[in-house]
């Protein structure tokens, strides 16, 4: 019996350069050997050795791989996307670690920071010796970050920060936090070493999603920062939203990794599992599920690659990133759930990946812009009418 995988069916390799394939293969090999054997346990116990993993991923070159200089690999958008995909094929939590480090924390410093801030943080963050987090979302301000309560007040040359942030990936293991706060004028970004007095991070327990990921609350109490902690090159929501576009781009590819792994698991299972004395895969209902999932997965990959090439050309728009994130996460979540049905009762065991991927993708559907907000972004692009408020 000969089987093919969805991306082979779509001839995806033909759309990639040799370098892109080589780097994808390297991340895949690392994932298969070093991450996959442990991930169900990390998820089950909700314990991720994130700092050790950061060092290993840094050694590989994954962290900030799409940034130029400062010890970063300087690779293209598609290469970065493929790395996200291979990591998320293991677990969305691992891709989240990389997204937050590279596309949010490092990108903010790289894009908006001073030369001193870049020299101080980026090489160590690229190597995985320093971990970063990104504080934008607050308890009552998710989709509307402009309403944030966290405030930074001038005091002589210093800034004094008060407030809190919620749902912060890597928060309680981070060495540095990029924190967005309102000031007398506009929203500004600050580079906050986490050992600064007045900084507290509390890990959020009792999650049913992204359990192989560190999620935290950050609290700032009269946290005093020197004037040099300000990210000088941006003011207003444009700053954090620019970072989010970077991270969302990674998710367009990444989510497909979770879908690919779910589908592959379901296909393997359906071939070996016998029901009424013949393989589950030989039933037409099963084949329909598999074919429908493969078509969505392959289509999603074509979309991701198209957007990747636009990003490499420098012409991609936020609207286009919304289209990609909306479609690919939504479809990936459907694929993970449908794959679980093929596994029957075994599908609820952590021994198989689909239910873990499905649980993770519930978060991915919501974070970095909810599917609802991305829907409204697309709606506004097509009608010219904003339906947010």
């Amino acid at each position: 019996m000969s089987t093919t995988d969805t991306f082979d069916l779509y001839g995806i390799d033909d759309l990639l350069t040799e370098d892109e394939r080589d780097i994808r293969d390297a991340v895949r090999a690392f994932g298969v050997k070093e991450l996959r054997p442990h991930v169900a346990t990390w998820f089950d116990e909700a314990k991720l050795p994130a700092r050790e993993l950061a060092r290993e991923l840094g050694g590989l070159g994954v962290l900030g791989m799409h940034l130029e200089g400062y010890g970063c690999a300087g690779l293209g958008a598609v290469t970065y996307g493929l790395a996200c995909l291979e990591l998320e094929a293991v677990d969305s939590g691992l891709r989240s670690l990389v997204s937050v480090q590279g596309s949010l924390a490092m990108f903010a410093i790289w894009k908006y920071g001073t030369e001193e801030q870049k020299q101080e943080w980026l090489p160590r963050m690229a190597a995985g010796e320093a971990v970063g987090c990104f504080g934008l979302t607050e308890a009552d301000y998710g989709s509307n970050p402009g309403g944030m309560r966290t405030i930074a007040k001038r005091d002589g040359d210093d800034w004094v920060l008060n407030g809190s942030k919620l749902w912060i990936t890597n928060g309680s293991i981070a060495d540095v936090a990029v924190v967005w706060a309102r000031t007398d004028e506009r929203i500004r970004g600050f580079v906050v070493p986490t050992d600064t007095p007045g900084f507290t991070a509390n890990e959020i327990k009792q999650k049913l999603s992204l359990r192989a990921s560190v999620t935290s609350e950050l609290v700032f109490e009269d946290l005093r920062l020197p004037g040099s902690a300000l990210l000088p090159e941006v003011a207003g929501l444009r700053g954090p939203l620019g970072c989010l576009d970077e991270a969302r781009f990674g998710i367009i590819f990444g989510s497909l990794g979770a879908a690919r792994d779910s589908l592959a698991t379901a296909v393997d299972y359906s071939i070996s599992r016998e029901v009424f004395d013949k393989p589950l895969a030989s039933y037409q209902l099963t084949q329909k599920k598999i074919a429908d999932m493969a078509v969505e997965l392959g289509n999603g990959m074509l979309l991701a690659l198209h957007l990747g090439r636009l990003k490499e050309k420098g012409t991609i728009s936020s609207d286009q990133i919304s289209v990609g994130k909306l479609n690919n996460v939504r479809k990936s979540l459907e694929i993970a759930r449908e794959s679980r049905t093929i596994l029957g009762a075994n599908g609820i065991s952590l021994e198989y990946s689909p239910i873990r991927h499905a649980a993770n993708l519930e978060s991915v559907l919501t974070y970095e812009g909810t599917s609802e907000v991305h829907t409204l972004v697309v709606g506004k692009a097509l009608t010219g009418i904003s339906a947010f408020g």
Binding site: D19, D22, A26, A29, L60, V62, A73
Partner: protein, 260 residues
């Protein structure tokens, strides 16, 4: 310090491996890779080179696709590679393989201080090429190294046996084969992957090496595979129902199979 690592491109053990019509290993229909046991030799060479400001050359014999094995080793950090690629080599046995490797190593400039190999290939799994090669090169051979140090023109090797561990010393130049216990091979970094493309790879034929094609290949092989058959599928296990005597039934089973 110049180090040569001999590596082999082998069919991926995860894939459906098979034989060609001439009863040689099918290398065309199956995806291949750098033999995992050779990765340990590459890693050890890189560690020694990094500590001694050395250069690592990777040497392989094989068809066009064997270049992938060289690429992996170059991505890991090796400096240059030599690919002996000649259709006449197809089907060569260990004796001919060692001849071609020896001639290729003798052609290198500068000559190596140390030749490293894996303990065996993961396809043929004979493990005889290292000693044959050392014999042809006139080098001391130390096999199955699980620890290796280079100092003062000597190599010191720990060999772990079932009952004892030996420490063996040899003067350089020498040949050492290493086990999978010696280190943890690195993953190629992105920088290594990008750098590998710019590294020199020489391709040599038998004529370049001055090796008579009559001495290699399937017809010159001292042994031939007469036939092969797939291993029969595993039989279904025997289910023993415990009716209060499960322990003794288990003991009988283990006794019958000489596990006790």
């Amino acid at each position: 310090m110049n180090i040569v690592v001999c590596v082999k491109y082998v069919p991926d053990a995860q894939a459906d491996r098979t034989f060609s019509v001439d009863n040689t290993t099918d290398r065309a229909g199956v995806d291949g890779l750098l033999s995992e046991l050779d990765e340990y030799a590459v890693e050890e060479a890189l560690k020694i080179a990094e500590a001694n400001d050395g250069e690592v050359t990777i040497l392989t014999i094989g068809p066009d696709r064997a270049a992938d094995a060289l690429k992996k080793a170059l991505q890991m950090g090796a400096h240059r590679a030599v690919h002996v690629n000649d259709a006449a080599i197809h089907g060569s046995d260990a004796i001919a393989t060692s001849l071609v490797l020896a001639k290729a190593i003798q052609k290198l400039d500068p000559q190596p201080d140390l030749v490293l190999t894996g303990m065996a290939s993961t396809d043929g799994t004979m493990g005889v090429v290292p000693t044959m090669l050392a014999e042809r090169l006139g080098l001391p051979a130390v096999t199955y190294a699980s620890e290796l140090t280079v100092a003062d023109g000597k190599v010191s090797v720990r060999r772990d046996g079932d009952l004892a561990s030996q420490t063996i010393e040899a003067t350089l130049p020498a040949l050492v084969s290493v086990t999978d216990q010696i280190n943890e091979p690195r993953y190629p970094s992105f920088k290594g992957i990008m750098a590998a493309k710019k590294k020199p790879v020489d391709t040599w034929t038998l004529a370049d090496l001055g090796v008579d094609a009559e001495l290699v290949g399937l017809t010159a092989a001292w042994t031939t595979v007469e036939s092969f058959s797939a291993r029969p599928p595993r039989q279904k296990g025997q289910i023993v129902t415990d009716e209060g005597d499960g322990g003794s039934k288990l003991a009988v089973f283990l006794g019958e199979h000489k596990f006790l």
